[in-house]
Amino acid sequence: MTADLELDCRGWLCPLPVIELAKRIGEVEVGQVVAVASTDAAAAYDVPAWCRMRGQEYVGTEPADDGVPRYLVKRVS
């Protein structure tokens, strides 16, 4: 899935990827998708948890070309 905003958080430890997501989701319109590329094991749990706590939609995960997981979030509010 092509995202409207790609966040490269490779090498960042928790909670930095989620902080980056929170700071920058406002850069896309409601209905658009942000991708967080993260090598941090905690992101697999914390991105979905962030979506649940902040009322955004967790779309799922797709690998980047280098195999790093991209966590996809749709802005719904």
Partner: protein, 375 residues
């Protein structure tokens, strides 16, 4: 024990890792150090003293837990009791179903036996197993209560629906809650109820098919190995007896204090209080703060005199987040586990609840987030 002016006094909030020695345990330990040095297998006077102390400790533990004397063994740790209790129930090639949130001692024991077929049973958002998910494996491993989030598991229900030998890791609850029905073997850890470290309790129900998974020894008790630490065992038994005697009063007080913490913490923005609010250990509560580094919050609270634990990856050597929080599908970073001493006061709890929002706000501000405001 209010805030820290003048002489610095800290509030210990990590009894789920290790409880301070109970006064009853200290007295028993000192007395037994004088009397319990000899080999309880020998026949001379000092040996008979040691054997008497050991038998007395077994009797006390059996009575405190409501089990038979011959069902009680003393191990060298809670972990050792978990390993023996679980692996002793599992014949070669057995299918073992375990809750996804079991203690790592259970998971490591299973991984050590490549012949076993293990199956992880999912949990709900509170960390509880649904008995209908367990199925009918050869052996079930289910904790009495979770060590990180406090949720009590439906052990008796699972025992009925699976109708299979059930190993119960009771390390988090032993002494604090009565043992549920349904287990075939169980484990406890003395330093978690106010006894000394280095003593575990292994319970094996009479009539259960259990075989030691480790080399035999020629000691007092064939289920365990090594020279008995008689003074520490008596001390552990004395602490358990005292804790059970005080349980109704202490648990009710701790339960109410934890309710107070849960309510106050829930008011901090972007916070998740996890674990079952009601069916839980009396003394323990866990919560996670969005955007907060687990190590940073443990350090900041420690500087203010509050000693807590965290299940966040940034506090672990592995960089892996807590498998318990992950299995529950809750936030894994910014995690704090608070567990109360038996004499924790409302003033301690209120001081902690007053400091916490300030600490969280400061860490979020350092991360470049607006203070106290939802992002």
């Amino acid at each position: 024990m209010g805030p820290r002016t003048g002489s610095f006094r800290s509030v210990y909030l990590d009894t789920a890792s290790s409880e301070p020695l109970h006064p009853a345990a200290r007295d028993a330990f000192l007395a037994a150090l004088e009397q319990g040095y000899a080999d309880p297998r020998r026949l001379h006077g000092p040996a008979r003293n040691a054997r008497l102390i050991l038998d007395n400790a077994r009797e006390v533990v059996a009575e405190a837990l409501g089990v038979r004397r011959d069902e009680v063994s003393f191990t060298s740790s809670g972990t050792d009791a978990v390993h023996r209790g679980l692996l002793g129930l599992a014949p070669p090639g057995a299918e073992v179903a375990h809750a996804a949130v079991e203690h790592s001692a259970v998971l490591h024991a299973l991984a050590w036996r490549p012949d076993l077929h293990t199956r992880s049973v999912r949990v709900d958002r509170h960390g509880r197993v649904d008995p209908t998910d367990v199925g009918v494996p050869d052996v079930v491993a289910l904790q009495s209560a979770n060590h990180e989030v406090g949720t009590v598991q439906p052990v008796a229900d699972v025992a009925v629906t699976s109708d299979r030998p059930l190993f119960m890791d009771a390390c988090a609850s032993m002494g604090r809650l009565p043992l549920p029905d349904g287990w075939s073997a169980a484990a406890g850890s003395a330093h978690k109820w106010g006894g000394p470290a280095g003593v575990g309790v292994l319970l094996v129900r009479k009539g259960v098919r259990w075989r030691s998974p480790f080399p035999q020894d020629d000691r007092v008790d064939e289920r365990v190995s090594g020279f008995e630490n008689v003074p520490a065992i008596l001390s552990a038994a004395a602490a358990l007896q005292a804790v059970v005697a005080e349980r109704d009063e202490v648990s009710a007080r701790q339960h109410a204090l934890v309710d107070r913490i849960r309510a106050r913490v829930a008011q901090v923005p972007d916070t998740e209080v996890v674990g079952d609010p009601d069916r839980r250990l009396p003394h323990l509560v866990t919560f996670s703060f969005l955007y907060v580094d687990g190590e940073a919050i443990v350090d900041a609270l420690n500087r203010r005199g509050f000693e807590v634990a965290s299940g966040s990856a940034c506090t672990a050597s592995t960089l892996e987040p807590s498998h318990v929080l992950a299995a529950m599908g809750v936030l894994t970073h910014g995690n704090v586990r608070v567990s109360l001493t038996r004499d924790a006061t409302e003033a301690d709890v209120d001081a902690f609840c007053a400091a916490l929002p300030e600490v969280v706000a400061a860490i979020r501000r350092d991360a470049g987030l607006p203070t106290g405001e939802a992002l």
